[in-house]
Symmetry: D2
């Protein structure tokens, strides 16, 4: 039961909708603006990694990791709001994309190939 609650994007979507409605923010929350806000947060999420080596990025201090978690939260919150505004189920879309990727990148061809995304 705890799992269901923790894992719920739907619950977050409802909270976010109430949050925006109570503050009359829906007028600002056009899909165009939400997509902008999302990438601004994605920039804040990338920022702590920009001068780190890949290895260092795998070994964040707890403080740094908490700061990154807060930026992950911001991206997720805007992704949920954008999905709601467009009537898209993000998890269903992600599952459809995963199935597509499984066809695009068969295991025997894709193994260890760094250039994986170049063929897209």
């Amino acid at each position: 039961m705890q799992d269901i609650v923790t894992d719920s994007l739907r619950d977050l979507a409802q909270q976010l909708d109430a949050f925006a409605r109570e503050r009359d923010w829906q007028t600002f929350h056009s899909p165009k603006n939400l997509a902008s806000a999302l990438i601004v947060e994605a920039g804040e999420l990338l920022e702590p990694f920009q001068w780190l080596t890949e290895k260092q990025s795998r070994e964040l201090s707890p403080e740094r990791r908490d700061a990154v978690a807060s930026e992950i939260a911001d991206v997720l919150l805007y992704l949920i709001q954008l999905s709601s505004a467009l009537g898209v189920d993000p998890v269903a879309a992600a599952q459809a994309k995963l199935r597509l990727n499984a066809e695009r990148y068969p295991v025997d061809k894709a193994r260890g190939n760094a250039r994986k995304h170049d063929e897209l």
Copy 2:
């Protein structure tokens, strides 16, 4: 029961982990690289909106909406992988952020205020 499955980020995280392991892609999936891949996808998500008016962005055609859903999926998939790589629960982080925002933007002060994010 259907709800739990559809709504499960944990399920997606497990599938993504298996997907990367089968292809030996973990070596590419440092947090630094995943944060880069995420913002690249966030750019592809913003792209269809860049010349639209806000009004037009609220009235996407079904074809355009499906294309946007596919980009939402890409952002979500990298967000899940980045969270897994860092040991972060994105939904718990989002809930914590929502509680923080409720304190930061009390309803009576924030109503209809476009400048809401400037004080951040």
Copy 3:
């Protein structure tokens, strides 16, 4: 004469190179890292516009405009550094792209067409 100095990207490139060398920062300035730093700054440049209407974005206060100018500077400085690191002349590349765009978007077909970039 004043014009030449003000307009000089080459001059900026030389100053940036000296700046990084004096601080032993070249090791951080891989093209990968510079491209990351550039998009992080592009996010900071977009941030003040994210909740504005298009009309409001055309009517910034002088204070807001100065803040935006400072973000424009950051993007330009990383663009110059990335160009230098790759041996690319950004102005020559921009002129080549302009010629290409003139072929891609002939005046009679492109007039007032909001969908201009979709065909790319």
Copy 4:
């Protein structure tokens, strides 16, 4: 003399202005939209680097380098258009920022310090 022409952002700004006017595109080119278009291009610029190691990013093939140059061009063209729309001189802004950075990061304190940008 050749130098002056090659190095001229002003010349590019004038060409871009004529290009947009001939196509009636000024209506789309609000600062808000141009800042969005810029970050979309910054994402396309980051994309070829996302799975590369830093070392690989320093050793691009000529073909890959040309493709990156084309994305650098796109970012520069939108940066110029955004600057024009706001009445900002990007080179003057960059020089002011460089002077500020020289104060912020004195050579003796900043030498080889990867964390340089964290204090910003």
